[in-house]
Amino acid sequence: MKRRSFTLMAAASVLGVGVLPRISLAADTIPVGSIEVLTGPVSPYGIAIRDGETLALEEINAAGGVLGGKKIALTVEDSAANKDQAINAARKLIGRDKVVAIIGPTLSAEYFALAPMTNQRKVPVIGTSITSIGATDIGPFCFRTSLPEADVIPAALRKAMARGAKTIALLYANDDLFSKSSYDQMKVAAETAGLKIIDIETFATKDTDFSAQLTKVKGLKPDAIGIAALVEPTAGVLLQARQLGFGAETQFLGGNGANSPRLGEIAGAAADGIMVGSPWFIAKDTPQNKAFIAAFNRKYGKNPDQFAAQAYDTMHLLARAIDKAGAADPLKIRDALMQVKQDGVMGPLSFNAKRDPASAEGVLVLEMHAGKFSIAP
């Protein structure tokens, strides 16, 4: 034992760890952690989330903090979209920083990797961008505030059917978890809504040539085409579809990945007419939303996107739960999370028994015209 502890102390000094001093800080602030992708290809999402939650945090602390004047101290760790780094970050936040709850991580795969461990350690984790089926089934400490796409897609499908669609072909990126779960839920939603699925095609997220799949789909003449992929391949599919002669007679529907202003920037006119379901839209006319957008612009000099909005709401909801719990205790905060309600920028937000968002009231259908989304007529 003695030798082992020596080795470990040596290792500890190598790692430059200050385990001990951090604990004393915990008395006057409430430590909260967040794990987001801040570097690498996926970083735009993680950075938007960090911006949203940081804005909310400043508002909360400026308004007197929680638990009668204690400030929330937020530590944001970078996961770099890497499973091991996400796990390391969660372990550090819990073991070293003693956080009472974790917001994040950005990606579903990271969530599946770290949630079994945090759940075992009984620390609530609240995903703000997790859309995969089954994520919150991992355990009672696993939450998310993002609507699963199953709640978002039907609205867009209904709109397409109202415009006369009876058959649909689905295309999705099968190597990306976000896209795959988007497709899974699109498929179920289409079946439930009574749309006939006449073809399913796959591609890889980094593919650039979709002509084989699109040519096949074109031969089957579907009324609508659903694309479940991140924004860049979605744009690529649309551009090539137009080249192969798909016109206005075919309606295009996008998954959550297509719900980004970047779609118009990349695909230009080729993206005209695509519809997406969205839990939030920048032009949504509520006082909370207007205040949020103004504050976000003041702080960052740019408009927020849906990921920032979701993170912003989540941080406010967590603060409420800490207050309601009455103590900086992860167990009590978990129970409080099950009870709190809030009317935020996304609309009404609370958790159902499966720790998913209880309401899909805020969902809108957006349609693209001339490179910009607007609420579909």
Binding site: V14, V17, K83, D84, I87, G95, S108, D175, S179, K180
Partner: protein
């Protein structure tokens, strides 16, 4: 002495400690191929095959870990034979070329097979890897390679590395040694994969592609292949360094790449430029 901080420390850094050891095993799996003058760019792919087959044995068949761990090297070895048998009969770099895309191709395969979890991969893998298993195996592997290096087999391997033709006229069958090394290397990588899968609860298709592959090569080259210790030291350094230099995540891979370039151009012996003294007469 109050050791509760130690428990915290161990818990907090458990995953780092595991990664360090597993990367050490991977570095050794690269070492053994380099030691016979070949280059395999499929070590991450072999690791992925081990991880997937082990996780499937645990999740779908419910086999105990002590059975799963040794069996996890079967599939990687079969792949190593399928690729090694034709390419190692050829001269030079065919093995490297044939393995360079293996990781990416297997990724495409994994995402297309729902039985292995598609794009998500396999989740809910029970935590069965213990720290002592990783470091025990690592110590065992280092010892074994050290014993081999200080023997006739080790001399034959070094001869192949220095001059294949000269080695052949001395009765050394380059093909047999190289195929054997590849099989051992696939075995080690496969076991490392099984340990990795049962250390974190998730394995996903994207984890075993080109970038981890090149990182494994940088472990081995940083440490140098003069001794089996070198690659392990290289793996330790390059796994811990990003933990120390957080915020430079974007540059981590740049750094790994530069290490390879510098190692080959300027210090072919590696950073830990040791060479076993086999015997003094």
């Amino acid at each position: 002495m109050d050791l509760s901080w130690l428990d915290d420390f161990l818990w907090t850094y458990q995953n780092v400690i595991h990664s360090v050891g597993i990367n050490g095993l991977l570095a050794l799996s690269m070492y053994v191929v380099l030691a016979v003058g070949q280059l395999s760019l499929g070590q991450a792919a072999f690791m992925g095959l081990g991880a997937y087959s082990a996780a499937l044995m645990t999740l779908k068949l419910g086999w105990p870990f002590w059975m799963v761990l040794p069996l996890s090297c079967v599939v990687p070895i079969l792949f190593a034979l399928a690729i090694g048998l034709p390419t190692l009969r050829l001269s030079g770099v065919y093995l490297a070329i044939a393995t360079v895309g293996l990781g990416e191709v297997l990724k495409a395969l994994y995402v297309n097979i729902d039985y292995v979890g598609g794009a998500l991969g396999l989740t809910g893998i029970p935590e069965a890897t213990e720290t002592w298993m990783i470091y025990g195996l690592l110590a065992l592997a280092v010892l074994a390679f050290w014993l081999v290096a200080r023997s006739g087999i080790g001399r034959a391997m070094e001869a192949i590395r220095e001059d294949e033709t000269a080695a052949r006229v001395m009765g050394v069958s380059c093909f047999r040694y190289q195929l054997g090394a590849l099989v051992v290397s696939a075995m080690l990588a496969g076991i490392a994969g099984a340990l990795e899968a049962h250390s974190t609860s998730l394995i996903s298709p994207g984890e075993f592609g080109f970038e981890p592959e090149v990182s494994i090569l940088s472990f081995a080259l940083l440490g140098g292949i003069g001794t089996p210790i070198g690659p392990v030291v290289g793996a330790f350094i390059l796994t811990l360094l990003p933990e120390l230099l957080r915020g430079m995540a974007d540059l981590r891979l740049v750094f790994n790449g530069v290490i390879i370039v510098v190692a080959v151009l300027f210090m072919p012996e590696g950073l830990v430029a040791l060479r076993l003294r086999r015997r003094s007469a």
